[in-house]
């Protein structure tokens, strides 16, 4: 295998692994803000027990997220040197902003969130929780801005020619608000909220079927269901917005999503199917004219197919892109169905008797994770052969100084260490869940009298 494919596999592997954790941190972060906020408002101790329990889970996901996140920053330099030179000027301000506004905020207040229970007053602790949550949200903004710039470059000019060419920033706000960034940031955020909400539901559903921590879990599952129902519907709308953006800005990618080979009127929308790349046919269940309708509100509209683009400017793995995209959409629909079903039984007052549904919820935690992964696979593979859409090819973006055997070495190293990391993660997550929230009377060491003012004048 050559340097290019090895580097691509390594980046895909390390970034996919990393992306198990940030959505959980953002999603659990949201649930923590809600439950700790409710505790402060209602003084109901159950919310505090819930918050303290979830902070422990949060700590685990956050720590691994940070450690695996540094990897990508380094890989830009080590494996994708040409890319780094090309985009450095653009990403510079986005990365600087991420580091300074997002990372510093979340990592500093993380210490208080995890270890500060007995050091600060409940209000200061809540502010730290909010700080960490906002930090992780800001972090997502800048990373998605940078990635969106790769999808839909804006606010730049090209300086130099051939291999010396590079992009220079001309307008910061145009770069930040490039045509796809807003809808993609929202899509990513809500994907993360769903990951958090479904983990919340899963764990509490598990306690309910196992007849443990009943009181806390009834509360927890309801909070989770509210978030899941709200955000799964919001995601339907945001997903549509994103696809609309792709249709407008990256028509070749949209055509790959749907396996739409030939430009014609009344393009079809597949619910599921299989793309035969040889014969350029798609077999599956389709809504005739559906794609035309969804993109232009007209069943008869013309949609550009893959044939409208040069052979070397479209992705080669059309079927994979098609499948990942459709799996993401399909899972999104399942999340809506599950949330609505759960809420329905909750309102009928029989949710806790529906053992089969609770068991489904226990395992449904995997669904938003898969949807998040598949969505990114579709977005990134659909952009190929470009690393910066229309400007820089992935094959040109490599490091010239790196040999295949070096990348093979690091790939094996990452495989080994991430396997270890994942086993440990699952083991400890399972342990923490089995241990559960502390039902016993809380030994409260919290400095209730100490407000923020005393803290500063201390």
């Amino acid at each position: 295998m050559d340097v290019e494919i090895l580097s691509r596999i390594q980046f895909a592997f390390t970034v996919s692994f990393h992306y198990i954790y940030p959505p959980l941190s953002i999603g659990i972060g949201l649930m923590l803000v809600i439950s700790e906020g409710l505790f402060l408002k209602t003084k109901d101790q159950r919310y505090e027990v819930l918050t303290r329990f979830w902070v422990k889970i949060f700590a685990l996901t956050f720590g691994i997220g940070v450690a695996t996140g540094i990897v990508m920053e380094f890989e830009f330099g080590t494996n994708w040197a040409t890319y780094s030179r090309y985009v450095g000027d653009i990403f510079g301000s986005a990365l600087a902003a991420e580091g300074i506004f997002a990372f510093a905020l979340e990592s500093s207040f993380l210490g208080i969130l995890l270890f500060g229970w007995n050091k600060v007053s409940p209000k200061v602790h809540f502010m730290s929780t909010v700080g960490v949550f906002f930090g992780s949200m800001f972090s997502a903004i800048w990373i998605v801005v940078a990635n969106s710039w790769q999808q839909t470059p804006a606010g730049y000019k090209i300086v130099g020619e051939g291999m010396e060419a590079r992009a220079e920033i001309t307008d910061f706000w145009e770069m930040v608000f490039n045509p796809s960034s807003v809808e993609r940031i929202l899509h990513v955020w809500v994907g993360a909220f769903l990951a958090g909400a479904f983990l919340f539901i899963s764990v509490h559903a598990y306690y309910l079927v196992r007849d443990r921590h009943q009181e806390i879990s009834k509360l927890g599952i309801k909070l989770g269901l509210i978030a899941a129902t709200l955000f799964s519907f919001v995601q339907l709308f945001l997903g549509h917005m994103s696809a609309d953006g792709v249709a407008e800005n990256q028509p070749a990618k949209l055509a790959a999503f749907e396996g739409h080979y030939y430009t014609d009127h009344s393009a079809d929308l597949y619910l599921f199917g299989w793309v035969d790349q040889e014969s350029k046919e798609v077999y599956g269940v389709k809504v005739p004219g559906g794609l035309a309708f969804l993109t232009q509100f007209n069943f008869d509209a013309k949609v550009e197919g893959l044939d409208a683009f040069p052979e070397d400017e479209i992705p080669t793995q059309i079927n994979a892109v098609f499948q990942f995209y459709h799996l993401m959409v399909g899972i999104g629909m399942m999340l809506i169905g599950l949330s609505v079903l759960g809420t329905f039984y909750w309102f009928r007052g029989t949710l806790f008797q529906q053992k089969w549904l609770l068991w489904t919820f226990v395992f449904a935690v995997i669904l938003p994770q898969l949807a998040n992964q598949f969505g990114w696979f579709a977005a990134e593979m659909g952009r190929q052969p470009w690393v910066v859409y229309g400007l820089l090819r992935t094959s040109d973006a490599l490091s010239k100084a790196v040999q295949a055997d070096q990348v093979l070495f690091s790939l094996i190293m990452f495989t080994f260490i991430y396997t270890l990391l994942f086993i440990l993660f699952i083991y400890l997550l399972n342990k923490k869940i089995k241990h559960g929230p502390s039902d016993t009377h809380l030994i409260d060491h919290r400095p209730h009298q100490q407000g923020i003012n005393d803290f500063f004048s201390e």
């Binding site: 600087a96 905020l105 993380l110």
Partner: protein, 345 residues
Amino acid sequence: METFLGLDYPTLWFLVVGALFSGYGILDGFDLGAGAMHLFIKGDKNRRIALNAVGPVWDGNEVWLVIGGGTLFAGFPVFYATLFSAMYIPFMLFIMFIILRAISIEFRSKEEMKWWRTMWDISYSISSGMIAFLLGVVLGNVLKGFPLDENYEAIDPHLTMFLNPFSILVGLTTLALMMMHGAIYLTLKTEGRLFDKVVKMLEKCMIGFIVMFGILSVFTLIFQPHLAERFKDHPSLFFLPLTAILAIANIPRLARKKKYMQAFIFSSLTFSLLLILVAVQLFPNLLIASNDPNNSITIYNAAASQKGLGLMLTIAAIGTPLVLAYTFIVYKIFWGKVKLDEHSY
């Protein structure tokens, strides 16, 4: 070229990067150093105290590396790309130890079994030490320089090229400095018998660092004379190494007087002063091409655009007070001796 306060943007950004890495050295320096000496601390409770001395802050400290790396990437993309792709294996090992260390801290105290804790103690300690060492090796190679072609790409880089005696010496000196710094930090966070033990370890660490620093200085003057040229050309700059030596000499003096807080300030100063020395020696080069000085990467040929640098400087100006404020708040809250509770590692 646009300027601010009489300095052009690449120079200003060079100072920003320098300040960030100096902050990184001071902050992550003590937790890496404390980690490197972890195995010399005996007993599970003592080790837990040592671990929890850095527990609430190591993550925030590591963020300085992320930000420092980001500022390098952003401000000098050519340098970032060349250095990281040339030193592929050292950087990959560095990442591996970063991850291993995070796992070790996170997992060590989660199980009671002795073998479990010993295993993570070993990997925590070794990875902390290796991170400090590899940071020094990278710095050593940047100072020494390596062959570059006219497109500022490394010519035929390989691992053995980077494991030269000079860079290894810089690596060991960095490790020794961080261990001393970490030992001073632990004196501030411990009490009782553990404190007495740490004080003894601090003495050894101080001797170790001063010896390494001496060897490195002599070695540099003999084998890397280009690093002293700036000082020969500008004798007035001699006050810089002199100040550094005075600062270092002050550490054992303060430690003997049991003024550990002041000793910590001076070991922090040592990081800054040594990095200022490095900056003065290099400027305006970032990476010297050992084959042809014309191919050297400088802050000018590696820099992002004027517009880009201007933006980043604005962001840094707005953000820095915030970062300092967060850091201050967190350290203030966790000030004082470590008390283990139900939330500790």
